[in-house]
Each structure stands twice: as C-alpha cells, then as structure tokens.
C-alpha cells in the first residue's frame, strides 16, 4: 500500500485520524504522516510489537523522533534472520512518491527478544501509549497466547476485533481498528474518539472519560 493510497482511502471513508503500526518497524511512518497531512487527516505514529510470547502489542507515539528512537531499540531485539522474499514478499521502504529507497533485510514477522510485560514498560518509557492488539483473536492475541491479562498490568485502551472486551482488563476501554493489510480493508473497523486533540494523552483521557471526552467502537 502506498502512502497516498492509504491516506486518501481513509479520508474518502470519512476517517479523521489514522495510525500506521507496522510489524516491528517504523520505516514507513513518515511518508504516511506526510500523506495524511496532504489529505487533511490526523496521524499517529505507531509500531506493532510482537513479543517473545507471540503477543501483539500496539505502541502509539505522538512524535516521529520518539517513534524512531523506539524503533531503533526494537530493531536490536529482532532476531538476525534474513527475510525470504519468496515467502514473505519484499520488505520495501518507499517515499511519499512511491520511490523505493531501501529494502529491510531482517525478517520483520519474527518475535522480538522481549517479554510482554517488558514491552509494555518499554513503550511507556518512550512516552508511548501501549495498547494490546486484537486481544480476542485466536492468533497473536493476548488471551490466546497468555491465557488472560497479566494481573500486574493496567491498560487504558485495548483493541478488540469483535464483540466485547474480554474479562480481566479492569476499567480499560475497547477500541476497534481496521488492522488493514490491504487497501480495501482500510476503515473496516473504526473508533470514535471525542477529544480535544489527536494525541495519545487525549486518548488516555478519553479512555478515562475525563472532561466530557469519550471513546467507543463504531458498530
């Protein structure tokens, strides 16, 4: 998916804020941020971490620089196994104008050498918002991999695919996102935030329903 096609599809479908959260990498966040600005929609920086336990954890960040600092650290925790393009496709990095500027050599679908609890802490240390991804899915979801949410962790937001938030997440608010891997999947699930700005801090306040803010999956 090219940066402009992502942003334009989102804008066309009435979406006001998108995030890019590629698997274990932030190589493509900046061109999509540019495309989102062009299309007049908001943008959040993100990475989808795959932890040692094969749990997917979304990290949302407000700033490009913080996202890249975090991504650089994550990259060191990714096993040094080469990508096999015949199986997984080429892992290309493109500009806003779809010029290929790099090809990622390490296989990005691998798990990081990082436990789930450590990953949650690390996201917070970098000023990011940790959100367990598709917790109700049978593959790579928190419940399937770890049985139940770790007791020592608290989340403001938890992503679900369908239905309701599973037990054990306390007062966390569910969000729904498209997890789009193809253009036609953009916007297939959305969340309505009532916030004062499109920042992670405002998302947390919305989760806690402070000052009239709110968050709800669009059904």
């Amino acid at each position: 998916m090219s940066p402009r096609s992502i942003a334009r599809a989102a804008a066309r479908r009435g979406i006001g804020l998108i995030a890019v959260a590629d698997h274990n990498t932030a190589s493509m966040v900046d061109p999509v941020a540019e495309a989102a600005a062009e299309a007049g929609i908001g943008f959040l920086y993100g990475i989808e971490l795959q932890t040692r336990e094969e749990v997917h954890l979304l990290a949302y960040l407000d700033e490009s620089s913080a996202c890249h600092r975090f991504a650089d650290l994550i990259y060191e925790l990714l096993p040094d196994r080469p990508n096999r393009p015949t199986y997984f496709g080429d892992q290309v990095v493109v500009t806003l104008d779809e010029e290929i500027v790099a090809t990622e050599p390490k296989l990005l679908v691998n798990s990081l050498d990082l436990g789930f609890d450590e990953a949650v802490a690390l996201v917070g240390d970098h000023g990011g918002l940790p959100v367990p991804a598709h917790v109700d899915r049978e593959t790579f979801g928190l419940i399937a991999q770890l049985g139940f949410p770790p007791e020592n962790l608290r989340f403001d937001l938890v992503e679900i695919v369908e239905g309701v938030l599973p037990d054990g997440f306390g007062s966390a608010a569910p969000i729904c996102s498209s997890d789009a891997h193809r253009p036609e999947e953009i916007g297939r699930r959305t969340t309505r935030f009532t916030v004062n700005a499109t920042t992670t801090e405002e998302m947390v306040l919305a989760a806690r329903r402070i000052g009239g803010r709110s968050v709800a999956c669009v059904r």
């Binding site: 040692r52 336990e53 609890d117 770890l146 139940f148």
Partner: protein, 113 residues
C-alpha cells in the same frame, strides 16, 4: 512416576523448591499457547513449554499441573521464580528441545510401563 525420579532421570534443572517430592506425574502436555493449556492439559501432568511469562505459573496452578518444564535452555526470571515458589508451583528446566524432552518423558511414563 515420582516427580523427583523424573527430575533425576532427565537431568532437569530445578528452579524452585519441590513441595511434594512424592508427587506422582501421570502424563505430559506440550504447549506454548496458554489458552490451549488451560483448556486441554490434564491435572497432574508435567507441562513442557518454551514460555516463561509469569502467567505460566497461574496456568499451572489453576490447571493442577505437577510441574512446568521450560525447555530450550530458557530460564525464568527472579519474579517468576518467586511467584512460583509462593504458589507452590514447581519450575524445571532443560537445555534440550521440547521434542527431545517429550520423547524421553514419553519413554519413561508410557513405553517403559
């Protein structure tokens, strides 16, 4: 077979105290998806896994497993050991793979019987 005998025969590392050395191990279960272990492992089994998240301790406890055997040379951190110790869950270790350990355990519990 007694848990202590299995520890001895398979030369396992022992990361926590063994509260009941006479405990009998009825079988084994291999799995890294904790939801699957919760749903399918039989009480009294020895659970073989590469997972060493703290939730493993809780799953072992509620499922009534005799011990958790962490393979591939992976090791529990101090927090996990402490949680296991206070919960009475036995954590064991092996540098061998799940395939090798499960094969040898099957030999002890099933083939040699």
């Amino acid at each position: 077979m007694k848990l202590t005998e299995i520890i001895d025969r398979l030369s396992l590392d022992v990361f926590t105290p063994v509260p009941d050395p006479e405990a009998d191990v009825g079988g084994g279960y291999v799995g890294d998806l904790l939801s699957n272990v919760l749903a399918s492992a039989m009480p009294g089994s020895l659970w073989i896994t590469i997972q060493h998240h703290a939730n493993v301790v809780a799953v072992a406890q509620v499922t009534g497993l005799s011990a958790v055997l962490i393979v591939d040379g992976k090791r529990p951190d101090d927090a996990m050991r402490e949680q296991a110790r206070t919960s009475g869950v036995v954590l064991l270790g092996s540098t061998e793979s799940a395939f090798e350990v499960a094969g040898r355990l099957y030999g002890l519990l099933v083939t040699e019987r």
